[in-house]
Amino acid sequence: MTSSPDYYALLGISRSGSEEDIHLAFRALTKRLHPDVNKNLGAATQFREINAAHDLLSNFSERQRYNAGYKPDNASLLNVRVTTSQRTLPLLDELQVLYMLVEITADPALIVGTTEARLNLTLVLDLSKSMKEHRLERLKAATNSIIDQLDKDDILSIITFSDDAEVLLRAEPLRDKPAAKGKIALMQPIGGTEMFKGLSKGFVENQRLASKKYVNHIVLVTDGRTWQDEPQCLDLAERAHKEGIGISAMGMGDEWNDTFLDQLASRTGGTSEYINTSGAVVRFMNERVRSLGQSYAERLTLSVAPDPDVRLELAYRLHPTAQPVMLDQDPIPLGSLQVRGSVSVLLQFQLNAQTRLGVRPVARLDVTGDVLREQRMGYKVIADMSVDVAEGVEPAETPLLLMDALSKFSLYRLQQRAEQAVNAGESAQATRHLETLATRFLQAGHTDLASKASEEAQRVRETSHFSAEGQKALKFGTRALGTQEARPQTAKPLALPPPSASTPATGTPAATRREPPKGLP
């Protein structure tokens, strides 16, 4: 098991590179990413690593020792494909926007057999009084079916919380399933929703047996709002992320705070989901646990270091589940990559006015993850993205893949705008956004969502408020579009432009750099 990063890949030089190569590569990167010239968050993160790589490799004896202990990977363990909205930009005296779709997949050659990843799972269950009998019964059933689904070697712990939190099942390999089920049967609803108490106990339990070799994950199921401890919960999520523990949040019913659960999950690369009927909780939880068991790589992160004259404006994860990404964090947690799945993120950059023709570097992307199947921790792929700047550029056809991703994000953004307008008390604006949203849904053939949007538009016009159910149904329905259809194999354009028979302009951009050739003496 290797865990040291590939320092050569970080500097973009080959293993046989001379001392001068190392210095030149470092100098070139310094010009782009040094905190003195580049104020972007991701640049600071990446520069630290580059600096460490340079320090080590420019020290002869340390380099020798590093080379001796380094075991080359026998294949590229993660495939990273980046599609840009344009490969050639016109020379313009104004701001320009560039999009990138980053897709991470497992190397198909490495996926043989069906060995499942070992789970270290913690369930944190809300037992407040609002969990009425019906919901509680379904929750019990869901928990029991998870116990059935888990392997004897998987680790399970269960925390219940209301006014206080209690460890129902301590973290240990699940050898005695009937005993665990017996404890589930005793769950009773009491008191309020003190989420932080539940989460922090869950964190402690999960951490006890957590290992980089496992999928460490906390699944939180709640139906209400927590009081005043949301910031503490978010801090905890950040700590969990640092410890390699993911958090997924599931909200039952309509009363919970979706914005908060989004933030909680996003901070660890997990997912947050809306369970509209209590019956669906069994399916949702089972699917979540199954997908965790199918993990190929865990703790995937994406660091984005735009060049000094470029700014990252937004990031939106489309796959495996659509989730907004907070930009106050770099690297961005992306959670886990399933064996046959993909993780994809849409990025939007703003570029300052161009002054020179030729190659213009845009950003350096760093994808890092623990590839469980190969027992390879801290595996890295660096992609240096750049575009050409030329005179008189003909507008090129946008890659369909990217257009499709952007269409989905655009729907989500409209829905978010409507929410913001409602919260700001601007119901006329909100109504307008919702009506536009309804039109866009219709154009894309999502009639259910279209009628939901018009319904809510009507309601907002009359009452200035969403219905709690409608707001969540719209938000999570819009997101689910990304999840269902964004798979690269089946990508179809949503609306415009019309599909054409010409070659899709995707493919790995020429500037994408994989790890340098290995095995050189």
Partner: protein, 168 residues
Amino acid sequence: MKICPNCETPNREGTLLCEECGQPLTGVPSTATTILHGTDTLGQKPSVKTWGTDHFALGAALVIRIRETNESLTLQVGANAQLIIGRIDPNTGAKPEIDLHRFFAQEKGVSRVHAALRRVNENLTLTDLGSINGTHLNGQKLAANQARTIHDGDEVRIGKLVVHVYFK
């Protein structure tokens, strides 16, 4: 910049779906001024100065002839008049007094507000208004916002568009 045909929101170049309403912007014309690279090394030799008169009488008309196509515009320049040379702004529809749009101004790198002609008593001056691709008078580049007197028969290059001015 691209103006959304649905909601008229201005979107930055390269935006694919309107940031306000999600309308696809493919095929929407850009309002940007094309930057021409190396305008100074186009191989066009400055023509010999004609040493025409700089006296522009009060009733005189100004003729602007496009060198490439030999088309011409005739203008009256009244007392204290200021005429902007440029091309129509597709965002706002604002039109300069001397609109060179139909002479392929955009392709030739003419800014929307490129230069100004002013009458100063019985003279005419030309001022570059900080255009992207610059203004040349008889092969010499004008510093932005500095007026120069023009003479009958002078050659003026606006971006890449070459015109001759005649007093009549």
